[in-house]
């Protein structure tokens, strides 16, 4: 088989090696996906991301229109522009999906996340935790003599920053809702 000029046994000629190596810059996009509130709708969206190898940084879902049986899924994802376009097109062809909005291309969206943080400690650490909570406008929603549960809302970065500060002060557990987002203006 000298006719082929391919080294025998060479695996570098695999058909699986077709991906464009010129990958561009990845960016984060917040997508709002309006779906019928029916069994399996969320699984279809999640299955699409895992099946096609897309990233999910954050995902939230809840019914937003009870009468219309519509839910809003907010997905924060990362990818090159062509991957993001592909994600939107793939989401758009899921049958129960009514609309896919890319909030990031419509301008910086309003993004909020809610988190609950359990911080255990006594003495100075406890006082410091409470002082920082005040600065971050976090509310105390549960308290014992050795612990607080703080409630904080804001952009994800603010919650990250608050959690980082709480870590040396006795952070035990964090529960986060994921990002809810709306575009600005009308």
């Amino acid at each position: 088989m000298s006719a082929l000029k391919i080294k025998k046994g060479a695996s570098s000629h695999s058909v699986y090696d077709l991906r464009d190596s010129h990958s561009q810059v990845e960016s984060s996009h917040t997508l709002a996906v309006i779906v019928d509130n029916e069994a399996g709708a969320l699984a279809r969206v999640i299955g699409l991301f895992s099946g096609r190898g897309y990233n999910i940084d954050s995902l939230t879902v809840a019914e937003v229109d009870h009468k219309g049986h519509l839910s809003r899924i907010t997905v924060v994802t990362r990818g090159t522009e062509s991957v993001i376009d592909q994600i939107k097109a793939q989401l758009g062809r899921i049958v129960p999906v009514h609309e896919v909005k890319d909030l990031t291309v419509e301008g910086t969206p309003v993004e909020r996340e809610l988190a609950l943080l359990k911080v255990a400690g006594t003495g100075d650490k406890r006082v410091e935790a409470l002082r920082l909570a005040d600065i971050f406008r976090a509310n105390v929603v549960d308290s014992t003599l050795e612990s607080f549960v703080f409630e904080i809302t804001g952009p994800s970065a603010k919650i990250d920053a608050f959690a980082d500060l709480m870590r040396p002060l006795g952070l035990m557990e964090v529960a986060r809702t994921g990002v809810a987002a709306l575009s600005r203006g009308v």
């Binding site: 088989m1 000298s2 006719a3 082929l4 000029k5 391919i6 025998k8 046994g9 060479a10 695996s11 570098s12 000629h13 695999s14 058909v15 090696d17 077709l18 991906r19 464009d20 190596s21 010129h22 019928d36 069994a39 399996g40 699984a43 279809r44 299955g47 099946g51 062509s82 376009d85 592909q86 097109a89 793939q90 758009g92 062809r93 049958v95 129960p96 009514h98």
Partner: protein, 581 residues
């Protein structure tokens, strides 16, 4: 008119309302109420298969050859899981199917009941959409929606999972026009501005090429007619993917043959060298593009597709048009005619002169033999002896499939049924039965390899029972030919598990099912044998012993661009500028 009836009866009623005449299926505990209803009526014919995978492939064959959706019925658990390969095949090739699966009763769901499987979970990624119907009141509307979704936009398979208690319970049957299908309405009309831009590009292009795919077939026979009008009007060359063969006739003057990994030399070089590529309903599959970074580097690319997610998925295009091929072609023709039917005729003539030099290479040439039957020769003879008949061809997957695509000519759409996207060995035989059920008086031939064919050979009983005179034309090289070819070319001739050991005596096998069995090994006997096969009124198993180590050329080695394709074993001489034998 709303009527009260059981869920099982609703299934039959809805099928009748959607003009379904045939259901391919296999009974089991969870679908007994539906089978009871099938027993008590005569409008819908049930074809009892021998394995559920075959039921889906038969429904696919039926659908592809008629343009109507195929319908299958399977039981819960293993019945549904056996259907998965067929569903995936139909999804990849955009074939409209409605599949009903039985399910354990709603109060049993989630208890690991007997023959319970999470069918909607398992089939979610391999259907266009699926439903678990928990309430008989919603069943009729779900079935109507299923037909709408399977057949509109980019077609595909859908599945309805039916718990047994929902089949037994009584509910209200509402007719199809009462069903809510409003929000799933894919765009069929293309953007007129974009179509006008396409016409402008066509008017000035110097080296244009049409690259068509299965989307033209799926758009209906009207789209193929419009395509022929546009191609013949402009005089532009046209090539097609495996899935699109027949949309433009193989005898047409602008036909270049199939493109892609085993496509024709002239087709691939035209794609590589064109300055305007007009993709109609194809999806830049990796078997078409080769190395994407070198794919048709100098062309302006136009892509017409009904599925927005196909646009820019693999290849970035300059002009995307989202819409149904038939509608877009109609508008394009109208605009092109209104603007005076212009093309850059002088440049296109030069382009054709260039293409003609590529054609002279005669890329399908092969070394003949008087001793053994070359598979290419077998297909050339099959073509010569059957092309003027009312003929449908199905194939399995592998070398024989590529040779069939190269050496058989298709004059019309819906005449060629092959597993393209998924590449399902075992597809062709059941598909041929499905085609024959839809076209009882036509000649239906499955071009097969012996290894693929064995994967669904149990359907011999189905063919006998339902008197389908399908012809199984097996190119028997006692090898998994395409696997062997890749091992020869790319894995140092280490033939790991790629031969067919312990094959049956196909003649005796055929006779044991009441078929006619034939074996041919001498090229001199081939014509008479093929005629005997065609003229036999019943199913025939044709064991054609062919050259064992024949390779399928031309071939673009994977990961290579179009202009580095190989022609038979003499490829090196050609690359050096020498003449080809």
């Amino acid at each position: 008119m709303a009527r009260q009836m059981t869920g099982a009866k609703m299934v039959l009623q809805a099928l009748k309302d959607h003009d379904v005449d045939t259901v391919f299926g296999y009974p089991g505990g969870a679908v007994l109420p539906i089978y009871d209803e099938i027993f008590q009526q005569n409008d819908i014919r049930h074809i009892l298969v021998r394995h559920e995978q075959a039921a889906i492939h038969m429904a696919e064959g039926y659908a592809r050859s008629t343009g109507k959706p195929g319908v299958a019925l399977v039981t819960s658990g293993p019945g549904a899981t056996n259907a998965v390969t067929g569903l995936t095949d139909a999804l990849m090739d955009s074939i409209p199917l409605i599949v009903f699966s039985g399910q354990v009763a709603t109060f049993m769901v989630g208890t690991d009941g007997f023959q319970e499987a999470d069918t909607v979970g398992i089939t979610r990624p391999c259907t266009k959409h699926n439903w678990l119907v928990k309430d008989t009141e919603k069943l009729a509307e779900t079935i109507h929606q299923a037909f709408h979704i399977a057949t509109s936009g980019r077609p595909g398979p859908v599945l309805i999972d039916l718990p047994k208690d929902v089949q037994f319970a009584t509910g209200t049957y509402r007719e199809a026009k009462a069903a809510r299908v409003d929000h799933y309405q894919p765009q069929v009309k293309g953007d007129i501005e974009a179509i006008t831009r396409l016409v402008e590009l066509m008017e000035t292009a110097e080296r244009p090429v049409f690259y068509t795919g299965g989307g033209v077939i799926n758009s209906g026979p009207g789209a193929s007619q419009l395509l022929r009008e546009l191609v013949d009007g402009t005089g532009f060359p046209i090539t097609s993917t495996l899935m699109g063969l027949g949309a433009y006739p193989a005898s047409g003057k602008s036909w270049l043959g199939m493109l892609g990994m085993h496509g024709l030399y002239e087709a691939n070089l035209a794609m590589h060298g064109c300055d305007l590529m007009i993709n109609l309903g194809a999806r830049f599959d990796d078997r078409i593009t080769g190395r994407t970074s070198d794919f048709s580097p100098k062309s302006t690319k136009v892509h017409v597709d009904i599925d927005a997610s196909s646009i820019n998925k693999i290849i970035h295009v300059d002009l995307p048009i989202i819409g149904d091929i038939g509608h877009v072609l109609e508008d394009a023709l109208k605009i092109w005619k209104a603007r005076g039917r212009k093309t850059n005729a002088a440049a296109v003539a030069k382009w054709w002169a260039k293409i003609d030099t590529w054609k002279k290479v005669n890329c399908l040439a092969y070394t003949g033999s008087e001793k053994t039957i070359k598979p290419q020769y077998a297909l050339e003879r099959l073509e010569a002896l059957t092309k003027d008949r009312d003929r449908y061809i199905t194939t399995e997957v592998g070398q024989h499939q590529m040779w069939a695509a190269q050496y058989l000519g298709f004059e019309d759409p819906n005449r060629w049924m092959t597993s393209g996207g998924l590449g399902t060995m075992g597809y062709g035989f059941p598909a041929s039965i499905g085609v024959q059920i839809a076209h009882p008086d036509s000649l239906v031939i499955n071009v097969a390899g012996e290894a693929s064919w064995l994967m669904n050979m149990q359907e011999m009983g189905t063919a006998t029972q339902f008197r389908t005179p399908v012809k199984q034309f097996i190119l028997n090289n006692e090898r998994l030919g395409m696997v062997r070819q890749w091992q020869e070319l790319l894995h140092g001739e280490r033939y790991s598990s790629s031969w067919s050991e312990s094959l049956p005596d196909f003649v005796k096998l055929a006779e044991s099912f009441g078929w006619k069995g034939m074996i041919v090994s001498d090229p001199a006997d081939l014509d008479d044998a093929i005629m005997e096969m065609i003229n036999h009124d019943g199913p025939v198993l044709f064991d054609c012993l062919v050259e064992k180590h024949e390779n399928c050329f031309p071939m673009i080695p994977s990961g290579k661009p179009h202009n580095e394709m190989l022609l038979s074993a003499d490829a090196e001489a050609f690359k050096g500028g020498g003449a080809l034998v």
